[in-house]
């Protein structure tokens, strides 16, 4: 996870580590497990060193509680980050080359490789969809799970195209 994501989650109001944790859990639902507390604290200290956040002790009522708040530089970084259009790049070339290499060298049947890959993606889809099914309506995490489902479906559609193309090539030989 990008450290900017953690930074931006603090933009709402100065928050303690545990409040930040709760906010991430709400946004990520069952996927929140993937982010452990240690990671969050490492990220926070990194952001602090970079001058994006500052630590502040809260009043005596909450003795010992520390909250993190955005500095001016932090505010600026968040605004920048929101306007960035970076996007994860799917690495499809590796799989494509696997099929080409396997077919050209006669090492393996491309269709078999596609089948094995499909099984793996179906397993993942199964897991994600099961998680989505138990999310309450309107859950934020549900929306994230829907995104993962749709991407897996797109990959499965491409595998279908791979299967068709390599089946046709085999027939022509």
């Amino acid at each position: 996870m990008q450290q900017e994501a953690v930074l931006a989650m603090l933009a709402k109001e100065p928050s303690s580590g545990s409040v930040l944790r709760a906010r991430l859990n709400d946004a990520l639902g069952p996927l929140g497990d993937a982010v452990n507390d240690g990671q969050i604290y490492v990220t926070l200290s990194r952001l602090e060193r970079a001058g994006f956040i500052a630590r502040r002790e809260t009043g005596p009522m909450e003795a010992g509680r520390k909250v993190y708040e955005l500095t001016a530089a932090g505010q600026e970084r968040v605004a920048e980050w929101l306007s960035e259009v970076s996007w994860p790049k799917p690495d499809l070339a590796e799989f494509h080359l696997k099929l080409v290499a396997a077919a050209e060298a006669g090492l393996a049947d491309p269709i078999g490789i596609v089948d094995a890959q499909r099984r793996e993606l179906l397993r993942r889809l199964w897991d994600v969809e099961r998680a989505a099914m138990v999310e309450p309506d309107g859950s934020r995490a549900g929306l994230l799970l829907e995104g993962v489902v749709l991407r897996l479906q797109a990959d499965l559609r491409w595998l279908e195209a791979c299967e068709r193309a390599w089946t046709d090539r085999r027939k022509k030989r």
Partner: protein, 249 residues
């Protein structure tokens, strides 16, 4: 999910074949298929359009007759039934769900769900009671008096699922049930199927929508009229969900 242990087979097919045309234009839509569906199982048969999966479902549900082979439901042979016997079988033993919903446009949601019970010989009162109960089960009590045209695609499909259950079928057969639905409505149908499956219903779905597999115990891949792959799905989660969403390390 409970890992439903497969019970005794409720539906069996042996050497099932369906040919269209003859001679040089012979098309074998279903090619020597053997199939066993266990009581309480949820089975997804997946394949691209034209692979013969809809034809197979029609044979299993008695909507069409095989060119060869046998179909048994709970020890009763279906493929040799008379037309009348077959009509009775379709009305009482099977519930159908289709991609295009196939609701009667001029009837309300409730009347659509009542219809099979009325045709099946239940009293109007009994049919109405059952329809109310089923619409409640699919979360549409407040839409009971709406015409299908006033319902969303997802709601129409839920009405169609309620209708499929009206005569307490032994098995529900669904043909591309999420084919016309958006992502959110698909999830509603998946939840509904999952609930029915957990309640013990036997379900066979043919589809090209991989998401349906989430409600299945078993998935069969079909190509050119034949089964080419089979996968059992357990209740165990194997992937790291966070990893799939880019939250790794």
């Amino acid at each position: 999910m409970s890992e439903n242990s497969p019970g005794a087979p409720i539906l069996r097919a042996r050497g099932l074949r369906k040919d269209y045309g003859s001679g040089s234009v012979l098309v074998r839509a279903v090619d020597e298929i053997d199939l066993e569906v266990a009581q309480g199982e949820a089975l997804a048969i997946m394949g691209p359009s034209g692979c013969g999966k809809s034809t197979l479902l029609h044979l299993l549900g008695g909507l069409d007759r095989p060119s060869a082979g046998e179909i048994w439901l709970e020890g009763r042979r279906i493929d040799r039934l008379s037309e009348r016997g077959l009509a009775h079988f379709r009305r009482h033993d099977v519930g159908f769900v289709f991609q295009a919903f196939h609701l009667m446009d001029e009837l309300t949601a409730r009347e659509n769900v009542e219809l099979p019970a009325l045709l099946g010989g239940h009293s109007p009162r009994e049919a109405r009671r059952r329809a109310r109960q089923l619409l409640d089960q699919v979360g549409l009590s407040d839409r009971a008096e709406h015409l299908p045209s006033a319902l969303s695609g997802g709601q129409r499909q839920r009405v169609a699922i309620a209708r499929a259950l009206a005569n307490d079928p032994r098995i529900v057969l669904a043909d591309e049930p999420t084919g016309n639905l958006d992502s959110a409505a698909t999830l509603d149908v998946l939840r509904l199927f999952e609930g029915l499956h957990t309640a013990g219903l036997t379900l066979v779905v043919v589809t090209h929508d991989e998401r349906i597999a989430a409600t299945a115990n078993r998935m069969i891949a079909m190509r050119d009229g034949a089964f080419v792959d089979e996968m059992r799905l357990t209740g165990r989660k194997t992937s790291n969900l966070g990893d799939l969403a880019g939250l790794g390390g």
